[in-house]
């Protein structure tokens, strides 16, 4: 029995001829200046072009702000691992994103946050799930990486570790915003049948529903960074899925699914967690570069176009060479990136639709 062969773009089809928007390779080679490639993204299931400015503008402003923090940190020669942690902390603290304060709610109305961080060269990584009181989940993931013999801690054990480490914790109500209480209510009305286990489950319907304002499923935040030495890092943080079952783990903390970095590239993916897990999205971008010789751009396009159903995923990624890519097959993705040569971009919808 022969499995269906997927079409993989030919790595030799003019890849080297492509115009790169991103940094001048010559400056990098001689080591002059600072190599910067940072992208941040906040993902949405469905962002209608009619999204009211009131819902759009605070997020775009926050992206500009976070991008600036990342750029300045790279210019100050902070290691990419520190940069991605710093930027994701900022995104977690912003209530307009589904991570930290502003996390969406479980079916019980509670918050269960998860996060993951990975360093490219060492492949050291840390992950956490099921947090309900930790202000910055991403920093706890970093501590798991650096202060425990493990990679991944979840739920009560992770909370106990947070207390041991003395990180900032607050009452769970701190994370709950009125918008998310409303989103949960709307989700429950739509999903009444799907969360009734006595009925056959229509899989994946839960994740596909969205409410009239079009942003009920706003997603995960992530950041990737590369410095002038080609050091890479990635970080992802999320409150998960609106109306998720208590105890549900998504793709974010799963190394290779939502988050992955090695010496070639750093990737942070976001979207429908279950689809990203089965497609091992973040690892596959790196694997296509490693095993098939694709460029970052080709690898990201292949994974988003061929490996994940349309409407399911987006990612931000940087390569050791300083390339940056923001790829998605959803209607839009809140995203931003900047590179050493002064290029920067902040967007929501595909660039063809924005002008």
């Amino acid at each position: 029995m022969v499995s269906k062969k997927k079409k993989v773009p030919n790595p030799h089809s003019g890849g080297s001829q492509k115009k790169k928007k991103v940094p001048n390779p010559h400056r990098r080679v001689v080591g002059v200046g600072v190599g910067v490639g940072v992208a941040v993204a906040e993902w949405s299931w469905d962002i209608p072009l009619t999204l009211p400015p009131g819902r759009r503008e605070p997020r775009v402003a926050a992206l500009h702000h976070c991008l600036q923090i990342g750029v300045e940190a790279l210019k100050a020669k902070l290691p990419p691992l520190d940069v991605v942690e710093l930027v994701v902390r900022e995104l977690e603290n912003n209530p307009h994103f589904n991570a930290g304060k502003g996390s969406v709610l479980t079916s019980n109305g509670t918050v269960e946050m998860e996060a993951c961080i990975m360093d490219g060269n060492t492949k050291n990584c840390g992950a956490v799930s099921g947090l309900s009181t930790v202000v910055n989940a991403i920093s706890l993931a970093r501590l798991v990486m650096e202060k425990t013999p493990h990679i991944y801690l979840g739920f009560d054990g992770a909370e106990a570790f947070a207390r041991e480490q003395g990180v900032e914790t607050v009452d769970p109500s701190h994370f709950i915003t009125p918008e998310n209480v409303e989103r949960l209510q709307q989700a429950k009305e739509v999903n009444r049948v799907q969360i009734d286990y006595t009925q056959p489950i229509q899989k994946e319907i839960l994740a596909e529903t969205h409410t009239a304002n079009g942003d009920s499923q706003i997603g995960t935040v992530g950041c990737v960074a590369v410095d002038s030495h080609g050091n890479l890092a990635t970080a992802t943080s999320t409150g998960g899925l609106v109306n998720k079952m208590v105890g549900r783990i998504g793709d974010t903390p799963v190394i290779g699914a939502g988050t992955y970095a090695n010496s070639l590239c750093a990737v942070s993916a976001t979207g429908k967690g279950e689809a990203i897990i089965k497609a091992t999205v973040a690892r596959d971008v790196a694997a296509l570069m490693e095993y098939k010789g694709l460029s970052l751009k080709e690898a990201a396009a292949y994974v988003i176009d061929e490996c994940v159903p349309k409407g399911n995923a987006g990612l931000v990624a940087v390569s050791a060479k300083g390339d940056v890519i923001m790829q998605f097959n959803t209607s839009g993705m809140f995203r931003a990136c900047a590179t050493e040569d002064g290029y920067s971009e902040v967007g929501i919808w595909p660039s063809s639709m924005q002008n």
């Binding site: 993989v8 799930s129 493990h150 801690l153 079952m245 783990i249 998504g250 690892r283 694997a287």
Partner: protein, 330 residues
Amino acid sequence: MGGWAIAVHGGAGVDPNLPTQRQEEAKQLLTRCLNLGISALRSSLSAIDVVELVVRELESDPLFNSGRGSALTEKGTVEMEASIMDGPKRRCGAVSGLTTVKNPVSLARLVMDKSPHSYLAFSGAEEFARQQGVEMVDNEYFVTEENLGMLKLAKEANAIVFDYRIPALGLETCSAGAGAAIDNGLQMNGLPISIYAPETVGCVVVDSQGRCAAATSTGGLMNKMTGRIGDSPLIGSGTYACNLCGVSCTGEGEAIIRGTLARDVAAVMEYKGLGLQEAVDYVVRERLDEGKAGMIAVSNNGEVAYGFNTTGMFRGCATDDGFMEVGIWE
């Protein structure tokens, strides 16, 4: 189209001084599980059903580190995890932090089949188990005398430990047992191999229709922090299946996660065009530090393969044409 093939494992990283009797018991259990899988395949059960069936059997037997006989957390409790993946549509289910579910692999299957999610953990997973009406037992059911002894030793060594057998033999002379362990010089995770044997269980199957599946189940590390999640429930790390192959890994969880080992076997087949055994060898050689882990794998054309760079791996495999092998050492 090839015939069916099956492989099972009971962990990578075995003490060379493991008593012969224990080695024999392990081989008998692996043989029994293989035969169970073979009969199921001959009765035309699908690959996904067979891996679940076989791993249930491994969980129910206290010999290896899964289900009954699971390693203990630093608090003396059991927290089990498992995952299962069906190759054809890459459907998957995973569970972590189970304390009362008799067969974690079957709950992982239910997460895959009956929930909108892929992965449930801790109290939410336990709650789901109750809703689904799976068999539940007290946490004590999973705790064996041997493991209590091992935990005590692990705490004395102030280390994280997997195993329970060698030190259990030396329970009356704890320090002597630990000394002997250190003497043999082999280490995993910075610990003497004799007190570090993962013994995670797993099964991979391709059925006669070329459908691949994989399942992995574990109690995790002896003396682990509560809440610790290892590679076994992580799709792409401990477990992976697609159209091409099914893979289950075992060893140092952290090394397996960093190497995304299970997915990488499939990825080098898919993206580099390697055959199954080549892919397994490549991943063991290129994606793993020496002495860290092992894996079993089947391909859609009925091949079976395994590889490890630890001292020994409990494993067994069989194919449609009558081949059958059960072994521990290289």
